[in-house]
C-alpha cells in the first residue's frame, strides 16, 4: 500500500493532467473535460455523474479554500484509469491545507439550512475511497 494509504497506483494510465486558474469558469471546463474523457472510455452514466460531481466539489474547495478565490493561483487536476475501470483523480492546490476530520457533519439538524459545508461530505458519499495528502492541499479520490 502506498504511503498515503490509498490503493496501489500501479497499472494506472494518465488520462488528463490540467492546471487551470483558480476561478469557477476554469474549473467548470475541467469538470467538462473529465466528463468527456469518461464518455470516450464508455464509463457508465451513473459513474460519470458521481465522478464529475466529486471533481466539481474538490476543485471548488481548492479554489475557495486553497487559493482564496485568487485567479492568479492555479489548481491542478489529474485523472488516471486502469483496464479494470478504476479511476483515480487528484486535485492539488497551493494552499496551506486543512484538517478534513474537522469538517462538520452537514446532516446535523442545525446545519441542514446552511449555505455551505457540504463539499467534502458529498465527495465522501460519491467516491469509493478518499485520501488527503500534503496536509489536505491534495485530495486523491478513487472510483471503482
Amino acid at each position: 500500500m502506498p504511503a498515503d494509504g490509498g490503493p496501489e497506483n500501479s497499472g494506472l494510465s494518465e488520462l488528463l493532467d490540467l492546471s487551470v486558474p483558480a476561478d469557477s469558469e476554469a474549473i467548470a471546463s475541467v469538470v467538462d473535460a473529465v466528463t468527456v474523457t469518461l464518455e470516450r472510455l464508455e464509463v457508465p452514466e451513473q459513474k460519470r455523474f458521481e465522478v464529475a460531481l466529486a471533481v466539481q466539489e474538490a476543485l471548488a474547495n481548492a479554489v475557495i479554500h486553497g487559493c482564496g478565490n485568487d485567479p492568479s493561483k492555479k489548481v491542478r487536476c489529474q485523472l488516471k484509469g486502469d483496464p479494470l475501470g478504476r479511476i483515480l483523480i487528484s486535485v492539488t492546490d497551493p494552499g496551506p491545507g486543512f484538517k478534513p476530520d474537522l469538517v462538520a457533519d452537514p446532516l446535523r439538524r442545525e446545519g441542514v439550512y446552511a449555505d455551505h459545508g457540504r463539499g467534502v461530505y458529498l465527495i465522501r458519499q460519491l467516491m469509493d475511497e478518499v485520501h488527503f495528502a500534503s496536509n489536505g492541499s491534495e485530495i486523491r479520490m478513487w472510483k471503482y
Partner: protein, 112 residues
C-alpha cells in the same frame, strides 16, 4: 445556465437549463431569487428537469432561499427534478425539505 422566469396564477415558475454549480449559474439564480423576493413574489416553482448537476453551492443556495422565502410566508417548490438532482439532494439530507411535483401545473396548483 439558462434561467427562464414566467408568472402563472401569481406563482413564479423558474425554468433552469444547465448545471447549477459555483460561479455564474449560482450567482445568476441568486440574483433572480433576490429580485423575486424584492418584488414580493414568494410563491416559487423551480423546474429542475434540465439540470444535470447540482453542486454544494447550488444546494446551499436552494436551502438558504427556501428558508428565506418561508420566512416571508411563501414557499419554494421543485418540479420535475432530474434523476441526478434528486440523488444529490438526497445524499446531503435536504430532499425532504422540499415539496416536489411531477410537473409545473401540479406545483402551481398546489399554491391555490
Amino acid at each position: 445556465m439558462d434561467i427562464n422566469v414566467r408568472k402563472r396564477s401569481q406563482v413564479q415558475v423558474i425554468q433552469l437549463r444547465g448545471a447549477l454549480r459555483m460561479g455564474p449559474a449560482v450567482d445568476s439564480l441568486r440574483q433572480t431569487l433576490e429580485e423575486a423576493i424584492g418584488n414580493g413574489d414568494t410563491r416559487i416553482v423551480m423546474n429542475l428537469s434540465e439540470v444535470p448537476m447540482v453542486d454544494s453551492s447550488g444546494i446551499g443556495l436552494l436551502v438558504r432561499f427556501l428558508a428565506v422565502i418561508k420566512q416571508h410566508g411563501g414557499n419554494l417548490k421543485l418540479a420535475q427534478p432530474s434523476k441526478f438532482a434528486v440523488q444529490t439532494l438526497r445524499l446531503v439530507g435536504v430532499l425532504k425539505l422540499f415539496e416536489i411535483f411531477d410537473n409545473d401545473d401540479a406545483a402551481v396548483e398546489s399554491f391555490s
